[in-house]
């Protein structure tokens, strides 16, 4: 079974479509979506319709903080531009969209894998895995050997062996990594709809359960079109430039 891990799609139809097509070409037969389907982008309706269809066919989807905000269920803070996007998104959601978002769980576990949006120690509080410190905290409490997290918009892989030291690895796109059974792993696939590591190409990861091989991917897509739609929708212009630069400062 080959699982595609996609997260932080953020209503970016162009990026999501490109990643789905890429996953289709690479033999993916299961999808896990780690949350934050709306906010920032101009196509929440299309993105949610597509997800509802995929979940009906067996995909797993989790709740992110932007999703919680969109149904008025977020207790924590959201930055002003994200808040503005959520206010723009809300009236566009159908009843079916709201029901889909409301039913999303905060985490899911399947065999050796734990799926969460933000972290493994308290998924509901949406605290970030900024670095090895938080990654270690998450890996220590997780019952699963491998944790997949969204929320951070940069691809990264953390691992921890017997001496409990956490190591950080910046993955090379397209190179499969064997996840040794002798240690714990925490993988951040990076964001589909709003990468922030200076590369505008969409991020997602693929995990082969049988061989335990994890592959990070970068998928180029028409980010100019996606940025243009953000501007046309009247959303904050800095969100359009984020898509154009991939978050480079």
């Amino acid at each position: 079974m080959t699982i595609a891990l996609m997260t932080d799609i953020h209503a970016n139809r162009e990026a999501f479509e490109a990643c789905l097509a890429h996953a289709g070409d690479h033999g993916v037969d299961q999808f896990v979506f780690l949350g934050d389907f709306v906010g920032y982008g101009a196509d929440p309706e299309w993105v949610l319709d597509t997800l509802i269809d995929l979940v009906a066919r067996g995909a797993t989807a989790l709740m992110g903080n932007h999703d919680a905000a969109a149904i008025g269920a977020l207790s924590t803070h959201l930055n002003p531009s994200a808040r503005q996007c959520i206010d723009w998104t809300r009236p566009r959601l159908s009843e079916a969209h709201v029901k889909f978002l409301s039913d999303l769980p905060l985490s899911a576990q399947d065999g050796p894998c734990l799926y969460v949006h933000a972290n493994g120690w308290d998924p509901a509080r949406f605290e970030y895995v900024f670095g090895p410190l938080e990654a270690g905290r998450s890996m220590q409490v997780a019952r699963a050997r491998i944790t997949f997290c969204g929320h951070m918009h940069e691809p990264m892989l953390y691992h921890m062996g017997l001496p409990q030291r956490v190591e950080t690895f910046a993955p090379v796109p397209g190179s499969p990594i064997p996840l040794s059974a002798a240690r714990r792993w925490l993988a951040l696939p990076g964001s589909v709809g709003q990468p922030r590591d200076g590369n505008p190409a969409a991020c997602y990861a693929m995990f082969d359960e049988l061989t335990s091989l994890l592959t990070f991917w970068r998928v180029p897509y028409d980010h100019q079109q996606a940025a243009q739609k953000v501007l046309q929708a009247g959303l904050p212009p800095q969100l359009a430039s984020l898509l154009l630069t991939g978050g480079a400062v």
């Binding site: 892989l157 691992h159 062996g161 017997l162 001496p163 030291r165 190591e167 690895f169 090379v172 190179s175 990594i177 064997p178 040794s180 059974a181 002798a182 240690r183």
Partner: protein, 472 residues
């Protein structure tokens, strides 16, 4: 982790039947194993699960890297078992002894040292091209196939540039083997392929002299000495060691990786062409470092932070470039254009090496040493022409070599040369496709079609060629 019961002959693990124990070392044991479907002999490596975490992580590293490797210079991976039950790796059994017993016979004759060294360098280059640095190259990890190809074993300390380094930060001590570990490994840098060239230099040193270049230190301060103390030059131990071999060995053993060969292919090139090795002060150096120089090196070694670079990038920086030169007056415009193309490649990669090649066409029937009407040796004439052609490039002698190949088929000679020397790039001129050549196929067309590497074909505008031909 509980300690598994000791293994016995006849025992079965995941379908493999244990035959006999063939080796027992600090990191684990090797068993001959059989399985009905295996056509080749195989060995099972079982780690010594002791309190030493390096052994456990090293085994994990080897389990991760070995399945990704292929080709004649690595043992073929067959199967692996995880730590939840009995951890093991099953791989192809390599007949024959390691290089270790050869050390007893050292010092060996120079040409034998060079031949062994070239095989090992070829294996290292193949490994580096697969994005892996061995980091524990030593005689006991070098085996030879019956055909002569070197096989590198034991990837417990290896580094794959596209995988997480499980050994990176977990261990505070340098990882490697005392006599062979490179200065940058002593400083805990684990991502420079030239560390393996240093270890190769230490192996060659031992084979050429019968002595260890740096003794067998076991403490960190003992290991650090190689950052500021140069080894006794090989010729001081063994006067029969020729200057070219000392040049190659000390070039591999440079403290600063940037001063070593750029790639294992470049080492193999020199070991297979002793007569073209450019001798520097290293070749005839007989003494020890002055106190001043040792002090200078020691000061530099304190707080030294080697530059980080990936394996792939280092190989790209240090290509072997072949330029096929037709230096006859008639094709001067083309020879100029070929030189300009070579200059662009050499300027963009300062560690690139240039091999200037000219093919002297011989008859298939009588392949004797060709001479012209006046009885002059054409081979020597061609060599002189090649050197004259390359002079405007103003290259340091260590960066350029000259080769006249005698062969009936120029295209085939260039292609064979490129394959034998692991050439990365060929630059060849094209005289245009007119007349007979259109039907017979030009040299450049065949080189492009059949060469095992990138080929740049250089052309000059038709009119310029015509004028040059007239003037000539």
């Amino acid at each position: 982790m509980s300690r598994p019961p000791p293994l016995e002959p006849g025992q079965r693990i995941d379908g493999f039947e244990l035959q006999e124990r063939v080796h027992r070392g600090g990191m684990g044991t090797l068993w001959r194993v059989t399985r009905p479907d295996l056509t080749q002999p195989a060995v099972m490596k079982v780690p010594a699960i002791q309190e030493d975490p390096t052994a456990i992580v090293g085994f994990e590293v080897e389990q991760m890297i070995l399945p990704l490797l292929s080709g004649p210079h690595v043992p073929r991976f067959i199967a692996a078992g995880g730590f939840e039950a009995q951890p093991y790796i099953v791989m192809e059994y390599i007949e024959g002894q390691s290089l270790r017993p050869k050390l007893e016979q050292a010092p060996l004759p120079a040409l034998q040292v060079a031949s062994i060294g070239a095989q090992v360098a070829e294996a290292l280059h193949d490994l580096h091209q697969q994005h892996v640095i061995h980091l524990d190259l030593k005689p006991s990890n070098i085996l030879f196939r019956p055909g002569g190809a070197a096989v590198l074993v034991d990837y417990g300390l290896a580094r794959h540039e596209r995988l997480p380094d499980l050994l990176a930060e977990e261990f505070r001590l340098p990882l490697g083997t005392g006599p062979y570990i490179s200065p940058e490994q002593v400083l805990r840098v684990r991502d420079d392929p030239r560390s393996d060239l240093f270890a190769l230099g230490a192996v060659l040193y031992h084979l050429a002299t019968g002595q260890r270049a740096f003794g067998n230190p076991t403490t960190v301060s003992g290991l650090r000495k190689r950052l500021y103390r140069a080894p006794t030059p090989p010729r001081a131990h063994n006067p029969d060691c020729p200057p070219w071999l000392q040049e190659i060995i000390l070039h591999c053993l440079e403290v600063d990786a940037e001063q070593r060969y750029g790639s294992a292919a470049q080492v193999a090139f020199d070991l297979t062409h002793p007569q073209t090795v450019a001798l520097t002060a290293r070749a005839n150096w007989t003494g020890r470092l002055s106190i001043g120089e040792r002090l200078r090196r020691w000061v530099r070694s304190v707080g030294a932070t080697p530059e980080r670079r990936t394996v792939t990038r280092q190989l790209q920086r240090a290509p072997i470039v072949v330029v096929a030169v037709d230096a006859s007056q008639e094709w001067e415009a083309l020879a100029d254009a070929v030189r300009a193309a070579a200059r662009r490649v050499l300027q963009s990669e300062p560690q690139a090496r240039l091999a200037c090649v000219s093919v002297l066409k011989t008859s298939r029937i009588a392949p004797e040493a060709p001479t012209d009407e006046a009885g002059r040796n054409l081979h020597v004439q061609r060599l002189v022409q090649l050197q004259h052609w390359a002079r405007p490039l103003a290259l340091a002698p260590q960066r350029v070599t000259y080769h006249v190949l005698e062969a009936p088929d120029p295209a085939e000679a260039i292609i064979d040369y490129a394959r034998a020397n692991r050439v990365d790039h060929i630059i060849v001129g094209c005289r245009g496709l007119s007349g007979l050549r259109r039907y017979l196929g030009s040299v450049s067309t065949r080189v492009v079609a059949e060469a095992p590497c990138s080929v740049t074909v250089v052309k000059v505008p038709r009119e310029e060629m015509a004028q040059a031909a007239l003037a000539g």
